[in-house]
Amino acid sequence: MAEKLEDLIPKVETLANDLGLEYYPVEFELVPPSFMMEVAVYGLPVRMPHWSFGVRWIYQMVQHRMGHSRIFEVVFPGNPNRAYLVNTNSLEENILVVAHVLGHADFSHNNLTFVRSQEQVGYRIVEQAAAHARRIAEVIEEIGEQRVEQVLDVALALEPHIDTNLPLNRSKYRPLDKRTEPEPEGFRGRYQQLPGEAQPERKTRGAPEPLHIPPHPERDLLWFIATHAPEMEDWERDIFLAVRKEAYYFQPVFNCQIMNEGWASYWHSRLLREADFLSGQIYVDSMKTHSDVVRPYAGEHQVALQVNPYHLGYSLWEHLLENGGLEAAREIRREEDDFGFIRNYFTAELADEMGLFVYSAKKNGEIRVTSSNIHELHEAILQPKFNFGAPRVVVDELKSDGTLILRHEHENDGRGLDLERARHVLEYIDRIWRRPVKLYTIDERGRQINIKPSWEID
């Protein structure tokens, strides 16, 4: 007897509830593979147009044609969650995907990083991104493609340069307010409420000094430019803030990928195992798909220079659940992101069991396995994830003549910026800032240098 997906989904959900998964309602939709491919490229079902997505899209197409990539599922956390299944996948594959999605939904409902981000962006990012896209389409109609594109060039290039420790809505730094610093917001505010953190004395005596803007290095470039640019038009500001809001949504997804995928993989395998309503054949076929997803990139006698996050997360969660039980695992799911997850729970024994190692690749092409020290391994895994995957560039100073001084905090990154690319990004910024722009970083010998748009002369 043929079973139907729509009949099976409620059964899987009932089972999930019995096992204690908590989540906002999930809306499933069956879509063609082409749609999935675009979602993977844009990150959201409907998103603003930009030529750079076109480049990623063609790469995806090429990979897909060569059979290297196959996308099973996408879910957008929110209330409701929106999940997409590929309509050409088999029932066995899709039932696994449904169970996997419920694991994600539980994760995003409970993990604090997600909860905070969802509170900020309002649980309906899919609809909001579509509204952004519509608004931008109208602006293009009105103002013309080229000018809108110039703004998107900057905004999207600065996408990772946000500061989610601070709220989405922030008030502008005011130069007139010389006496008192603004009340600290976000993390700083919370930090000051900790017991034992005495309020530093406010400097109110002496001659008032003009307030340095920003009062401390500002990481949120999108916000700073949108709110402080001397001559930005409203529609340009709207685009910046739209990109920023989407970035606020993307960041926890990025920061919790290993945990989140591992958690979802653990739950899809457990849900299917306990689903006595599934026929034996469906179970066997789904589990085959499962092992395809969570298997290491390297085969038995091979070596891979990448780690499959599904495999890593899944193995780690299995280990934690075996040794600490479900309640302890739920606590970890609530409180950690990948950084804490890996550093606190990924042990040397497990690394050894999984065959993980650190390698170093020299410019001459030599690749050598260097060490299996667990701390080095942690950092090697986490390195691409720091600061949303981007170098940390901050606003150092907004000068009284409107000059914007940016500084690369190279101390954290250990090396300087790629100068050619940095110059191009500065040129993007220059077109919207409409005043001089300057960026400090270090060269290959560690000397401080500054970069300017190529058309600016000393």
């Binding site: 995806q60 290039a157 990139y297 070596v303 690369h408 940095a422």
Partner: protein, 391 residues
């Protein structure tokens, strides 16, 4: 929970079946590339493969993906990463690669920018860019001095005429006007509503043209020379084609004799022995007289050679050219060779210089490298535009 299917029951697809955002943004990327490539016109023009399919009105140009720049760290001297598999500290997974000549500064960066793909360009677009670049006047189809033909053109309407020239749109308009004046009982269409297009006979300048391509195929003309000649011919032809609705091309190859060829074979011919350029000019003259009435055609002649010619042929070649020149709108001479900085001081170049000195519309161009093609094309278009304006 709920599950939606991507197609509703009445078979109407969802929005994403109708429209691909990926394609839209990819096309926009390509458009931007076109704008960027335009700035490299000289390379585009000198591309030696433009002629591969002469009937095709497009050329393919390899381009790289554009990169959307973001802040990135400089590539480290030693990159570390996490890997997985059967390996222990000290294992060398890949030995150092011997430095390969011709490789970039530091191998390759990751990600975009590496893959090249071929983008097709309309030759007409390239020509438009060329014209803009050279700031040439946009020529109308050239008004021949003597070249005219009869043409019927549409002019006005009448209430009587042949059925085949009934203008339905006008007729309906008339009927509607009348009906709205007459009120609801009016007859739909009456004879008075009918409108017929009228034709008038006009004299108009002919827009026919013929181009003669003369190629020296003697043993001294090697592949390099032929390629230069071919590219030059191609662009010269495009420049002429811009002004005429129809253009016919005659291909003539010569050594001490001259033959007419089909286009496919023209550039593959290899001859033996010496060179008598007079033979090719004679052949052109003969074909012109047989097939193309100079009164009905705009005539162009292009000659590519390495410049060597038997000196006893000098007088005959000069005379032949002098006979042909009055019938031509323009004559182009392309000297192809290996030596840099050739100054057009060969035997043949001298003959053509003489032709120019007598006031005939002649241009001479020297080509030794691909980079010269751009200069030659620029010079040719400028000369040609000046000639056409003067006439």
């Amino acid at each position: 929970m709920s599950l939606h299917e991507s197609t509703s029951r009445d078979g109407v697809g969802r929005w994403y079946d109708l429209f691909s955002r990926g394609t839209r943004d990819w096309l926009r990327h390509n458009e931007k590339i076109r704008e960027a490539v335009r700035e490299q016109l000289p390379d585009l023009v000198a591309g030696s493969d433009v002629l591969s399919r002469p009937d095709n009105r497009t050329v393919k140009v390899p381009v790289r993906f554009m990169e959307h720049y973001r802040f990135r760290l400089r590539n480290p001297d030693v990159r570390t990463g996490a890997g997985q598999g059967k390996a222990k500290p000290g294992d060398v997974l890949r030995p150092a690669q011997p430095a390969r000549p011709g490789q970039g500064k530091e191998g390759s960066g990751e990600g975009e920018g590496q893959i090249t793909f071929a983008l097709e360009f309309q030759i007409d677009d390239i020509l438009d860019w060329l014209w803009d670049e050279l700031e040439l006047p946009h020529l109308k189809p050239r008004l021949g001095t003597r070249i005219e033909e009869d043409a019927y053109i549409r002019e006005g309407w009448d209430r009587r005429g042949a059925r085949s020239r009934l203008d339905r749109r006008r007729t309906m308009k008339e009927a509607i006007k009348r009906r709205s004046a007459q009120g609801p009982e009016a007859i739909p269409i009456v004879n008075d509503d009918l409108r017929f297009r009228q034709l008038a006979r006009r004299r108009r300048p002919t827009t026919n043209a013929v181009a003669f391509f003369l190629l020296d195929v003697s043993s001294s003309m090697d592949e390099h020379c032929r390629r230069l000649a071919k590219t030059f011919f191609f662009w010269a032809l495009q420049g002429v084609r811009r002004q005429f609705s129809t253009i016919e091309i005659v291909f003539i190859a010569h050594t001490v004799e001259a033959w007419e060829f089909e286009e496919e074979n023209f550039f593959r011919i290899h001859g033996q022995g010496g060179t008598k350029s007079s033979t090719a000019v004679h052949k052109a003259q003969q074909i012109l007289e047989e097939r193309y009435d100079p009164a009905m055609y705009n005539c162009y002649l292009f000659y590519a050679t390495d410049g060597h010619n038997f000196s006893e042929d000098r007088r005959r070649a000069t005379e032949a050219l002098l006979r042909l020149a009055p019938l031509m709108n323009f004559l182009g001479y392309a000297e192809v060779s290996h030596q840099n900085h050739r100054r057009l001081d060969t035997e043949v170049a001298g003959i053509w210089r003489g032709l120019g000195a007598e006031g005939w519309p002649v241009g001479s161009y020297s080509l030794t490298r691909e980079a010269d093609i751009w200069l030659a094309i620029k010079a040719f278009f400028t000369d040609q535009a000046a000639e056409a304006e003067a006439q």
